[in-house]
């Protein structure tokens, strides 16, 4: 009891116990699945063997199947397109809005905060709303671009195989802009005003100030925001479920959705795990870059 007192009531064991408790939970429900996923990816798993513990190991067979699947490369291409376009536009629009809302006018902070209403919405609801906005026959987007004279024909955003991926990208950009903007606003606010004043006295124009002061001083912040943007985009699942479900005929499928479809629609669980393994490697790679960039910032 005395020993218990010394370690947990008064000593460092207290912090250790608190941290370990949460870590144990995370290991059980996050880290273990990660490892288990790797194991499954080497096994043959179907509906009948799912609940048993001894399943045949098939070596790299699942990996061969996936890479040779005719869907593999189109889906990889879609994923890159999805992540690339989403991140570029989220960042671009986010930065523009962050710069605009830094200007001095009444209510700027409050109005800026309203953008986060988009971010807080469940992805599935956002998907449902965009599904209605982009609906082929009665969607308001089609009506808008037709009355502006941009096209004559209705665009079938969700059912045209060459377009459907872009519909999801548009919805995802809408979802990601607020988060980018808020994080970038924080970075902008952290640049001291007197640096700008000094530059102005030195004769730098507004544009010169942006390129010689704002951008260089935001470098760490931009790195973190880009990494986070990639991570959140790779996590995006709900929009696909609500908008296109990867279709039509997999034209808008991406790796994270394909992995789930393989496991839960086609019950090719081993194959789904292989796709997950690929994705997780990418995510961990990006996350390491993110953690390192924030750590670095922390030390300075």
């Amino acid at each position: 009891m005395l020993r218990f007192n010394r370690v947990f009531r008064d000593g460092g064991g207290f912090d250790g116990a608190l941290v370990l408790l949460a870590l144990a939970y995370l290991v059980a429900f996050s880290a273990f699945p990660l490892i288990y996923n790797l194991v499954i990816s080497f096994q043959s798993v179907d509906l009948f063997t799912i609940a048993t513990f001894d399943r045949p190991f098939v070596g790299l067979e699942n990996y061969r199947d996936i890479v040779n699947d005719p869907l593999f490369w189109p889906v990889v291409r879609n994923t890159i397109l999805f992540v690339g376009l989403s991140v570029v536009f989220q960042l671009g629009i986010g930065l523009a809005l962050a710069l605009f809302f830094r200007l001095d006018f009444p209510g700027s902070t409050w109005l800026r905060g309203l953008f986060l209403a988009g971010w807080i919405m469940p992805g599935l609801v956002v998907g449902a709303i965009w599904g209605w906005l982009l609906a082929g026959d009665f969607g308001v987007v089609n009506w808008l671009i037709q009355s502006l004279g941009l096209t004559q024909q209705k665009i079938f955003w969700l059912s045209d195989p060459s377009i459907s991926i872009y519909s999801v990208i548009i919805a995802n950009i809408w979802l990601g802009v607020p988060f980018n903007m808020i994080l970038l606003s924080v970075g902008l606010a952290a640049i001291p005003a007197d640096v700008y004043e000094a530059a102005e006295l030195d004769g730098a124009s507004r544009l010169q100030r942006f390129f010689t002061i704002t951008l260089p001083m935001m470098r760490a912040q931009l790195g973190a925001v880009i990494s986070l943007g990639i991570i959140f985009t790779l996590q995006q699942f709900d929009l696909f479920a609500a908008l296109t479900q990867g279709g039509p005929s997999n034209a808008s499928n991406v790796l994270q959705y394909w992995s789930w479809e393989l496991a839960f629609r086609e019950y090719r669980i081993g194959h789904g795990s292989v796709v997950s393994v690929f994705m997780i490697i990418v995510v961990i790679f990006v996350a390491t870059a993110y953690v390192r960039s924030t750590r670095h910032e922390h030390v300075v």
């Binding site: 947990f8 008064d10 207290f14 912090d15 608190l18 941290v19 408790l21 949460a22 939970y25 995370l26 429900f29 996050s30 288990y36 996923n37 048993t52 513990f53 809005l97 605009f100 830094r102 006018f105 700027s108 409050w110 309203l114 986060l116 209403a117 919405m121 469940p122 599935l124 609801v125 998907g127 449902a128 709303i129 965009w130 599904g131 209605w132 906005l133 026959d137 009665f138 308001v140 009506w143 009355s147 808020i182 005003a193 973190a224 986070l228 991570i231 996590q235 699942f237 709900d238 479920a241 609500a242 994270q256 789930w260 839960f264 997950s276 994705m279 995510v283 996350a287 390491t288 993110y290």
Partner: protein, 276 residues
């Protein structure tokens, strides 16, 4: 910060309002559609304002079985928040207070687990849960998995709140005769209360919108949450848009109200945690 003339400030305000309006148009469209009659919904050109507004809340609530969906959403969200707060608060505190190699390792681990996409973890979780027989309690399983997914974010946010509490306050409590646990509960937790509350609200809102775990682990419709329910009605062949938008509006309005009330604090809590 950059001062301008009054005339220019009002112009900027007008532009800002316009930007917000454009951005939030999808939300507006959801509410407008929810209020329109079926005929008006499919009118061409579309009406920007409902001419024959009708509230279909009761019909949609009953026809689409929203009662059970919303109840399940609440059960899952509350369960998730309970687990996350219980496990996460102490962990966040430990990570904020102790500086050692081991704590750095733990923090790194938490940050890495924060970014794992749930859609990729669900396959092994599903397999493991079915082996353990957890699928017989699908909501419990969903809560356990969702909590693991949200726990890292909560830890990161609350850790930032605890680092704001001066260490000396706790030391004063120790010298005044308290134990570590006592100082934690009577000094640190009350002072980090705002951060804890905001983070818990954020986790609650996110858990309310959780989809992939519920969709994969819960097969019985009676236990499915609102996201899965909504997914039934949307998809490439959706047609009852008034009903869907009413469903969506009923579902997200409380979320939006909570958000608007806590907006300022959520924003500051989020930014302090995400980049520090």
């Amino acid at each position: 910060m950059l001062s301008s003339t009054p005339w220019k400030r009002w112009l900027l305000l007008a532009i800002a309002v316009l930007l917000v309006a454009i951005y939030l148009f999808p939300l507006y469209w959801m509410y407008v559609t929810a209020l329109k009659t079926n005929t008006e919904t499919f009118a061409n050109p579309p009406t920007l304002w409902p001419h024959h507004a009708e509230l279909k809340v009761a019909r949609v609530w009953n026809d689409m079985g929203m009662g059970s969906f919303i109840q399940n959403s609440l059960v899952i969200a509350c369960g998730t928040v309970a687990i996350v707060v219980l496990f996460g608060t102490g962990c966040a505190y430990g990570l904020a207070r102790v500086r050692s190699v081991w704590m750095d390792v733990a923090l790194f681990m938490v940050l890495m687990l924060q970014v794992l996409p749930p859609s990729l973890l669900i396959t092994p979780i599903f397999v493991a849960f079915s082996q353990l027989g957890l699928l017989s309690w699908p909501r419990t399983g969903t809560i356990l998995a969702t909590a693991a997914n949200k726990l890292p974010l909560y830890i990161v946010l609350v850790r930032a709140a605890f680092t704001q509490v001066p260490r000396e306050l706790e030391e004063a409590a120790l010298v005044d005769g308290n134990s570590r646990i006592g100082a934690f509960l009577s000094i640190s937790v009350p002072l980090a209360r705002n951060g804890i509350l905001v983070s818990a609200i954020l986790i609650f809102l996110q858990a309310l919108g959780e989809y992939v775990y519920s969709r994969s682990l819960i097969t019985d419709r009676a236990y499915q949450p609102a996201t899965v329910g909504l997914q039934f009605f949307v998809g490439p062949n959706a047609s009852d848009w008034t009903g869907i938008m009413t469903f969506a509006a009923i579902y997200v309005t409380p979320i939006l109200i909570i958000f608007v009330l806590a907006q300022r604090r959520i924003v500051s809590g989020l930014t302090s945690g995400a980049l520090k």
